[in-house]
Each structure stands twice: as structure tokens, then as C-alpha cells.
Subunit: 346 residues, 2 copies
């Protein structure tokens, strides 16, 4: 039989209340008494029953999720996943509030973090923007003892407790390897091949990191692949379509395209229209309705993906664990870089 607070009380010769005070580190216990109780706890190998504790406290974990009101499929999907968690909240003892903020706006994010701080939730998850003022706001939350998880985009060297997202440098490297190997056959002649890169903005960290990883691998392992200057499509389908169409027109020998941001609908449209003699090899990020179809149709060759559902569930698990001072299972919380070919689509 697992030991309970009663057993501790008996062995230590104190009352339940005192045991509880010690267990929860509350003041008002003499040092000697505390010692006796802690001894009993250790000797019994006691572990508290969290479910019972939460029942007694009628506790619900109140979390705030701050999400950019971006209208690309990935962010919409992410928000959808959080909504799903909200729907399940009654079963999971959570109370999740979703806060929308304008995208790419550090000040708005800071304001949202401040607002969250004011209501003292049990935890906060947010899609970070890598800016000093955001880092400062995060530090204030930490001072207040509020667990924090960054989602999708990290805030390194900050006081966040955990990052629920992929390693974007590794993702870029993976894209680079795939590009290099896939190109090797049909495209790479004596004079090498040319590759275009479509990003959202070089201001956001994930995009910079993906490009960095990609460029590194290409330079090291595929020196005869030439990368054109980055196109910044601001994750906007219309802009992306124009830029890709232009690039294909000006540069007839583009053999590959790496789309490392969102807004792939525009890219796909441009590719569908510009049917040249030989279609370029395309690697894109995020499995959405449009990239899925493009992959199945052979317009896109590979999709790198981060599982938004996993990220959201992981963020919640981690916030709960941090709120309770419990350890997390690192292996369970690692967000994979999924590689999808048309053959392993879920």
C-alpha cells in the first residue's frame, strides 16, 4: 500500500495539518518538528498523490496562450490546436485563455505578456519574437514565478522554462541535405545547379536559422550548388507568387527552390503556371492542406513539418509540470523535424 499523509503523521507523531505544512513548505512549523516529519517522509518513500491534492484544492491550471493573428495555414492550424485543448479543458483541469496579437509586433507581444502577468496565471505560452524588450518582459514574468514556454519560435538565453518547437538550424540543414542529394541526379551537371530560397522575413529568428543551416550544408557538401539571393515574401501568398514567378522568368535554370517560411499557396500557384521544360525540385515547410496536395501531385518533393498538435499538448504538459515543480520527460517533449514525402503522408 502506498504511504499516505496519515502514515507520515503517525510515524512523526504529529497531526495531518503539520504534515501538510511541511509537504507544501508553508511556514509555522518548528525546525525540530519539521525535521521529524521530513524524516518520516523519507523513510516511507512517500510521494504525494497529485490527483487527490488537486481535488482537495479544486484546482484548475489557468494558462494564457499568446498567439500571432497571422493568417497563414500553419498559424491557423496552431490556433485550432489550442482551441482543441480549450475544448478538452474540463477534463484536464485546465482553463486556457487565447490572446491574439498582431504578428511581427514586439510591442504588442510585450503588452500581452504584461496583461498576462497581471492576472497571475499558472503558466504562459507564447510565440516569441527575438527582441530585447520581449526578453525583458519574460524576465518580469519569471520574477513573478510564472512558468513560461515558448512555442514554435524560441527566445534563447531568456528566462523561459522550455521551448516547444523544432531546432530550426537542423531543419535548414536537413533541407540542404535533401536538396543536395535530390539534385545530384537529374540536375547537377558540370556547371552545377542554381537554387532559389523563399523566406518570410529575415527578421524572424526561425527563418534566419533555417537559412543558416541550409546554406552551411550546401556550401560544405554541395559546392557546385549556387544559392540565389533570398526572396522575402513576408509569408504573403500574393507577394510570394509574384516573386517566384519573376525569379523563374529571369532565371530559367533554377533547379531547386527551398521555401523556408509560410505562404506556400503563392509558391504553388506560381509553380503550376510556370510549366517549364523541367520543373524545379521543391522543398517546403509545414504540412498544410495546400502543401499536402502539392506533395501528392508532385509539385513539391518534400515537406519538413513541425507537429502543431504535439507542440500545443507538449506546452500544456510542461506548464503543468513546472507549475507543480515536477520533472518533464524530455523524450516526450522533443518536437521532431518531420520529413514527409508523398509516401509517408499521414
Amino acid at each position: 500500500m502506498k504511504p499516505t499523509v496519515h502514515d507520515i503523521a503517525n510515524i512523526a507523531g504529529v497531526s495531518l495539518a503539520t504534515v501538510d505544512r511541511v509537504l507544501n513548505g508553508r511556514p509555522g512549523v518548528r525546525l525540530v518538528t519539521r525535521g521529524k516529519v521530513e524524516e518520516a517522509i523519507a523513510s516511507l518513500g512517500y510521494v504525494r498523490d497529485l490527483a487527490a491534492a488537486n481535488l482537495a484544492k479544486s484546482r484548475t491550471y489557468s494558462f494564457v496562450f499568446i498567439l500571432p493573428a497571422n493568417d497563414n495555414s500553419f498559424m491557423i492550424g496552431l490556433t485550432e490546436e489550442v482551441r482543441g485543448a480549450v475544448a478538452r479543458s474540463s477534463f484536464e483541469r485546465t482553463d486556457i485563455r487565447i490572446v491574439d496579437v498582431p504578428p511581427f509586433d514586439p510591442d504588442a507581444l510585450v503588452a500581452a505578456l504584461e496583461a498576462a502577468l497581471a492576472e497571475k496565471p499558472a503558466g504562459v505560452a507564447f510565440v516569441a519574437i527575438d527582441a530585447p524588450e520581449v526578453r525583458a518582459a519574460a524576465e518580469r514574468l519569471r520574477q513573478a514565478g510564472i512558468p513560461m514556454v515558448t512555442l514554435v519560435s524560441d527566445l534563447p538565453d531568456s528566462s523561459r522554462d522550455h521551448y516547444a518547437g523544432i531546432d530550426n538550424i537542423a531543419a535548414g540543414r536537413t533541407a540542404g541535405s535533401l536538396m543536395g542529394r535530390f539534385l545530384s541526379g537529374p540536375f547537377l551537371g558540370e556547371r552545377g545547379a542554381t537554387v532559389a530560397v523563399l523566406a518570410g522575413s529575415m527578421l524572424v529568428r526561425d527563418h534566419r536559422e533555417r537559412l543558416e543551416g541550409f546554406s552551411t550544408v550546401i556550401a560544405q557538401a554541395y559546392p557546385n550548388v549556387h544559392i540565389l539571393p533570398v526572396l522575402e515574401g513576408r509569408d504573403d501568398p500574393v507577394l510570394a507568387e509574384t516573386m517566384i514567378a519573376d525569379a523563374l522568368r529571369r532565371n530559367a535554370d533554377i533547379a531547386g527552390i527551398y521555401s523556408l517560411g509560410a505562404g506556400n499557396r503563392g509558391l504553388i500557384r506560381a509553380l503550376q503556371k510556370a510549366r517549364g521544360p523541367r520543373r524545379p525540385l521543391v522543398i517546403a515547410h509545414e504540412l498544410t492542406a495546400s502543401t499536402r496536395v502539392a506533395l501528392a501531385d508532385g509539385i513539391i518533393d518534400a515537406v519538413l513539418n513541425q507537429d502543431a498538435g504535439h507542440e500545443v499538448r507538449s506546452a500544456i504538459r510542461v506548464l503543468k509540470a513546472k507549475a507543480d515543480g515536477l520533472p518533464v520527460l524530455a523524450a516526450q517533449e522533443r518536437i521532431r523535424i518531420d520529413i514527409f514525402l508523398k509516401d509517408n503522408l499521414p
Copy 2:
């Protein structure tokens, strides 16, 4: 405030005990009374608090995991993951018993299933062998109302409630696509390329399915790739090494190797020794200590993997849900076909 059994009792004008009887479908309630209670439940939108219920029952979920005592790294890792779950069992209200059975032995598996049935656990997970007597034993468990999950290897068209493992046909297809694309460049000349396949045994379903997927894609999309007769290494490192060494010696023009089973240590040793003019392209299954090193060293080009930790955690979650008659989150329980290049190693 969430409605409780008290609210139901008040509205229906009955006692808590009666409410409980209705909630748990126990006999001893007049039809009219039952009707009143059910009406109150519906009108309140009541959902029971599982944690409180389990506390009151001091319930622990007793599960049996039947695992083949295979000595390859993957099975050892799988067992390790179950051990991890056993270690966490006090926190998760589970009581997991691990039963080892000789590998590839349907009768032993049937005996283990019978033994499990005898002790009436809350659920059973097992690595299936695709045989009629196993299917029959599974049916007996289902008759007894014991939830069942197949792990890693499925038992299709049977009475198992869930399969925690990957789609092996899709895995084979994925390997085929990668092989075809990777080969296209450096190897595929006018006269095509030759590929060897190393399997454990064509008697186990996963291996058959992987080969099927692989062959299909190669035949359809890469007709000038020629697949040699399958080598069955029985997942034995020593045997595998001999077979691969032999094959490389006899067939100097082997351009690629697909290792779809376990026992990759032997494969790797053979490759290290047989340094020909140009090393073959290698795709293997399961990320283990040895395949990881081989991938990093460039001896293996890609590893397809199933996350054993995820499979075990998923099996437990599903068994719990089935035991409680609750739905499962399909997206969370889907086991991915992970593709690892040296760039996205965890």
C-alpha cells in the same frame, strides 16, 4: 461551476447513491427514477470527474505488456521504455507487468495471452504474431472485455482495440522513394542500378509489408533499379554480416542496400570491411546506438524509425481510455515514420 453528482441528486430529487447507480449503470433503480436522473444529467451537461472517481475507488489500472525476448537493440529499447513506464507507475495509477516470451513463437504468445486473461487485467499490450491461433486468443480476451493494443507489429482484422505502431507498407514505400531519388544521381547510368534487400524473416508481417511497399515504388517509379533476391538474416548480426559480405563480393555493382529488419550491427560491420571503390547507398530501419553512429559516419544514408517511447506511452494512454470507455485523440496516437538523415538526429 462544473455540475457535480450533488447537483444531479438535487434536481432529480434522489440521493447520491441512486445517482451513482445510474451513472455507473448498476441495477437496482426503477425505470422512472432512472429516467429522472438521466434527464438531470443531460440538462446539466454533467461530465464525471475521472480523477475523483479513481480516487474514491483507489483504482489502479493493471496492464500486462507481452514482449518478445529478442536481443536486438530495438526490442531492448522497447522493453526499456516499458520499464520506464513501470518506474512512473506510482504517479500514473498504473500497475504494469512485463511478460517476456520467446520471439517468433505463436504458441508461447498464445500461452502468455491466456495467462493474462486469467488474471483479468485492465488491459493488455502485445507484439503480435500474425497467426490464426493468436487471433483466436485475442478474440477470447475481447470476449472477456479486456482492452487490447498491439504494439509494433499488428494483428489486422482481429479484435484488438488499437495498433500502436507504424504503417509498414508506407515505410517501405518511403524507403523506396528515398532509394530511388538518392540513387538517381551518382549511380543510375544507362543500364540502371542493382539494390540488395536485407530482411529478418519473410514470415513476420512487418518485414513482408516493408518489402512490398519498397518493391512497389521501385517498380513503378524507378524501373531501371533492379532488386536482388531478399536476404533473410533472421535479425542476427553475425548471419547478416556474412550474407552482406557475400553479396557484395559476388555482386560488385550493388549500388544500394535496404535493410528493413533489425540486426544492423552485422550490416554495418560488413560495410566497414568491404571498402570498395564506391560505397553503396544504405537505408536502414530503427535508430539505435549503432545505426546512429553509422549515420553520422556516412556509412548509412538514411534511417527510418519508429519511436518506441511514443509507442509505449501511446499504448498506455489508449488502454486507459478504453478501460474507461473514453475516446482517444487519434492525432496524438498516430505513430510517425520518422526519417533521420545525419542532419536531424535527435
